[in-house]
Amino acid sequence: MVPYIVRRLVVLVGMLFALSLITYILFYAVPTDPASLSCGVHCTPEAVAANRHRLGLDDPFYIQYWNWVKAIFLGRDFGTGYVAMHCDVPCFGFSWNRQMMVTDVITSVMPVTIYLAIGAFVVWMTVGIFTGILAARYKGSIFDRGVMAITLVGFSLPSFFIGLVILIFFVVRWQIVPYPNYVPPTEDFGKFFMCMLLPWITLAILYAAYYTRLTRSQMLDTMNEDYIRTARAKGLPEKVVIRKHAFRAGLTPIVTSAGLDFAGLLGGAIITEKIFGLTGLGSVAIKAVENLDLSILVAITLLGGVFVVVANLIVDILYAAIDPRVRVK
């Protein structure tokens, strides 16, 4: 198991390197000039040139890339004299729009995104798996048919619609919860919880519908397996047959999807963040697109990629934990 993980880690480092190169090329191929964008209204060609030099944009491409990669691990100094700035490890550059280090921008909004993702994940996995198992167990019943109909609807609704409906009814009409106003959990957990509740539910509805259907179809598949008949032939109670034998056997695709979906959410949930006025990675990314803030976009894209790659690794390790046939001797 350990050599397996080490091998996977080596592959992972290679993938991240490739990913960073591609991201960098893609964004630096965009025909914008950060130097002039950051120059302001009273711009002279000299000022642009000076900026360009300070940002290192007059270096050849591969040097720029190299400096950028190096900065991630070693930090970097921009300019000299009174305009000199130090960028700490891990340095992803400087945002001229925000006049902040990219790393600081990201770390300031990352917690919101992480809380949003974790809360929604817990809700949808619990609801989806539980309902899916029940629907499979009582296949064809009114309950099952109801679940199938509701999930189909939930699954086809766009998240802005779900979010708006929830907002209108729970906040505006019934005033059950106040309009979300983000408070860090360390400050006031109660307020934090009330603020995150609706965004969690909004995100979770979509995924819960999908995971209910996925769990149900996985369960129906595995319930037909010979080893399920064996488990029943042993005289195990149906509860145990379902939980220990059928569910475990159908778990692999659920884990795969869960890993990737969770990683995707860590990259930012743009629409949900917007609707509920949360400033997370998604909102920052949208702003960065509007302002053509390349250094932030590159960093967020790369970060999103890192989440997916790492999630993949974790999923693979979980595979091996679930299925002994995957384990390498």
Binding site: E225, D226, Y227, R229, T230, A231, R232, A233, K234, G235, L236, P237, E238, V240, H245, R248, A249, I322, D323, P324, R325
Partner: protein, 361 residues
């Protein structure tokens, strides 16, 4: 059903005959007029019709017949393993002083694995791929006995040794995919017998295995039966196995018993054409290439023929007057003290045909 009764030949009552075994043990399992049908989109599949048999302590009953003749379904019905989805089971199954068809699912579940056990054709797919064989064996013990994990594991190890798993202490933590086919079937047998059941149903336990391994598994079953006195119902296509282990034989065709009797009589004095056909299809030493498969295909269980179910494939139906084979279903008729068969041919005709065709020699 009504069609058949107007023919004056009800399938229900007169065909339901309990043929006594020559075996002298106590009756452990008694199946009486068991029928199973499945609702499907194409119609009602009558998978088992009016099957009756008894199994005694220490006895081995073999059920043979072509694919789709209802062998597995009838056994799964006895075990209560058909599920309630689309299966309709009628009749009586007496076991352990209870009637199982009318018992609650939980009552039958508590007997499964404890007093009656079953092993299946393909031991790879029948074992859970994600759990070690030790875990699966322990689970079989703890499902029924209130013992510690250690005691259950000790019992698992004992059974693995008993069924001939070499260095069982090492293999007990292996996963099914790490074992050979024969070993897996031994594990299945160990799991089935771990609570010392009174009845073991083996559904084609050797079909998925190599020939040499087949013989070992059959030998193992026979030894274990001698040791524990377990009654065995063995389902098989292999008449060699039948000759080897069975005391009595039920030949099934189209969901019903076509013939039933002691193994010697089935081989030496078979009473109906389908059995003759089966016997002719066994490869015999010396005359290779002389295999005579029965021409035609098994009947559709959705539209069973009105007359004899085997009639469309029967070479002797012209010898029966009035086209009776096509119009009237033959009774399951007692032909000897422990023998019954379903056929319109007279005793004389059968004897002549057997002599002519050297059947049962």
């Amino acid at each position: 059903m009504s069609e058949l009764t107007t023919e004056g030949n009800s399938v229900t009552s007169s065909t339901n005959v309990m043929v006594p075994s020559t075996h002298k043990g106590d009756v452990i399992l008694s199946v009486n007029d068991l029928s199973v049908s499945f609702k499907t989109h194409d119609g009602l599949v009558q998978a088992v019709s009016h099957l009756s048999y008894e199994v005694r302590r220490g006895q081995t009953l073999a059920i043979v017949g072509e694919s789709g003749s209802g062998k597995s379904v009838s056994s799964l019905a006895v075990m209560g393993l058909l599920g309630s989805d689309n299966a309709n089971v009628t009749g009586e199954v007496h076991f352990d002083g209870k009637e199982l068809i009318s018992s609650s699912a939980d009552t039958v579940r508590q007997l499964r694995g404890l007093k009656m056990a079953m092993i299946f054709q393909d031991p790879l797919s029948a074992l859970h791929p994600y759990y070690s064989i030790g875990k699966q064996l322990v689970e079989a013990v703890t499902a029924h006995q209130d013992v510690s994990k250690e005691a259950a594991r000790a019992r698992a190890l004992e059974m693995l040794n008993r069924v001939g798993i070499p260095s069982a202490e090492k293999r007990i933590d292996d996963y099914p995919h790490q074992l050979s086919g024969g070993m897996r079937q031994r594990v299945m047998i160990a799991m089935a017998l771990i609570n010392d059941p009174e009845l073991l149903i083996a559904d084609e336990p050797t079909t998925a295995l190599d020939v040499t391994v087949q013989a070992q598994i059959i030998e193992l079953l026979r030894d274990l039966q001698k040791e524990f006195g377990t009654a065995i119902v063995i389902i098989t296509h292999d008449l060699g196995v039948v000759a080897d282990v069975a005391d009595d034989v039920i030949v099934m065709y189209g969901g019903a018993a076509a013939e039933q009797g002691p193994v010697r009589e089935i081989f030496y004095q078979p009473e109906m054409p389908y059995t003759w056909g089966l016997l002719a299809s066994i490869p015999k030493a010396g005359d290779e290439g002389q295999l005579d498969p029965i021409p035609g295909t098994p009947p559709s269980l959705i539209h069973l023929p009105k007359g004899c179910v085997f009639a469309p494939r029967c070479a002797f139906r012209s010898q029966v007057p009035d086209n009776a084979c096509a119009t009237t279903r033959p009774d399951f008729e007692i032909t000897g003290p422990n023998h019954a068969a379903r056929c319109h041919l007279t005793t004389e005709q059968r004897k002549t045909i057997r002599l002519d065709r050297k059947i049962g020699k």
